[in-house]
């Protein structure tokens, strides 16, 4: 089995291929938080493709976990449940306010050389690095 760095590059390539086929063929952006947001607040004519993409995510995850056991398994978080819930609220609310997440800003936006996405990626990367520093080294949590 190739090293994990090779898999990281190859997996990234697949993500790029997915985003490209969606954009080139259908004109839609493969931003997960936008896709989920569009289902939480559904608008006519914009539901089917989003639902299909999400079902595809689950089908792909299920298929991969059959082929490569352990590749798709949620870990128990070391955080107390209330902190897990708070993290979820922040991820949900923040991605909607900021207009994207790791996929929408990180992959699709950077590829369009969007200034907004560069600012978003810098903001969420530094906030995330600072947060892990605090939780690991100051609070001592090991999620």
């Amino acid at each position: 089995m190739a090293g994990s760095f090779t898999w990281a590059l190859a997996g990234g390539g697949l993500i790029g291929l997915s985003a490209s086929s969606l954009l080139v063929l259908t004109g839609r952006v493969a931003g997960i938080s936008g896709i989920v947001g569009g289902l939480v607040e559904p608008k006519q004519g914009a539901i089917a493709w989003r639902a299909a993409f999400l079902v595809g995510l689950l089908a792909g995850g299920a298929a991969l976990s059959r082929l490569v056991p352990g590749a798709v398994t949620a870990r128990a978080s070391g955080l107390p449940p209330v902190a897990v819930a708070l993290a979820g609220l922040l991820v949900g609310f923040g991605t909607q306010l900021g207009g994207g997440c790791t996929s929408g800003h990180g992959v699709c936006g950077l590829s369009r050389l969007s200034k907004r996405s560069f600012v978003a990626v810098l903001s969420f990367m530094s906030a995330a690095a600072l947060t892990t520093f605090v939780t690991h080294h100051v609070v001592g949590w090991r999620p």
């Binding site: 997996g11 299909a52 978080s77 306010l97 699709c108 520093f133």
Partner: protein, 151 residues
């Protein structure tokens, strides 16, 4: 109908990419974000690999008149860098850095969930709904009117 089929296949490929690259494991995300100790550059390689493949297609899309299957491009139209963008991204980053899950991997991992993942996803959807249905204009200001394509 073709669009829906493409979206399904794109979802499958996206999930396989996330799984193969290890991004569905929050420990790998946290190993990237914790820059002290044994740093794991995987996330950077995944984003780099994805952008390397997507870049040319995205640039084509910015110039093309319409997608190959017809219809119209739906690209973000806002170009303004405002407080919402920065504050929203920071809030997202704090949640992401605390648990190691961003929206995509969290959804893919639902096929083999843990109790904390279920709590996380339920809270994430609540956070999305809170933003979509809440009246936040008085708190965060109105979104800048969209004009022109973002570049």
């Amino acid at each position: 109908m073709k669009q829906v089929a493409v979206a399904f296949v794109a979802g499958v490929v996206f999930a396989v990419g996330l799984g193969l690259s290890g991004m569905t494991n929050p420990e790998k995300i946290l190993g990237f974000l914790v820059v002290t100790g044994r740093w794991d550059p995987s996330l950077l390689l995944v984003m780099g690999g994805a952008v390397a493949v997507h870049f040319g297609f995205a640039q084509w899309a910015l110039r093309a008149r319409k997608p190959l299957l017809g219809g119209a491009f739906e690209l973000p139209s806002r170009a303004q860098i405002d407080g919402r963008l920065v504050v929203g991204s920071i809030l997202f980053g704090v949640g992401w850095g605390a648990i190691g899950y961003c929206p995509g991997p969290a959804i893919v991992d639902l096929v083999a969930p843990s109790p904390s993942l279920l709590v996380f996803v339920a809270a994430m959807v609540s956070g999305i709904a809170a933003h979509r249905y809440g009246r936040w204009e008085s708190v965060v200001g109105r979104a800048e009117p969209a004009n022109g394509r973002a570049h």
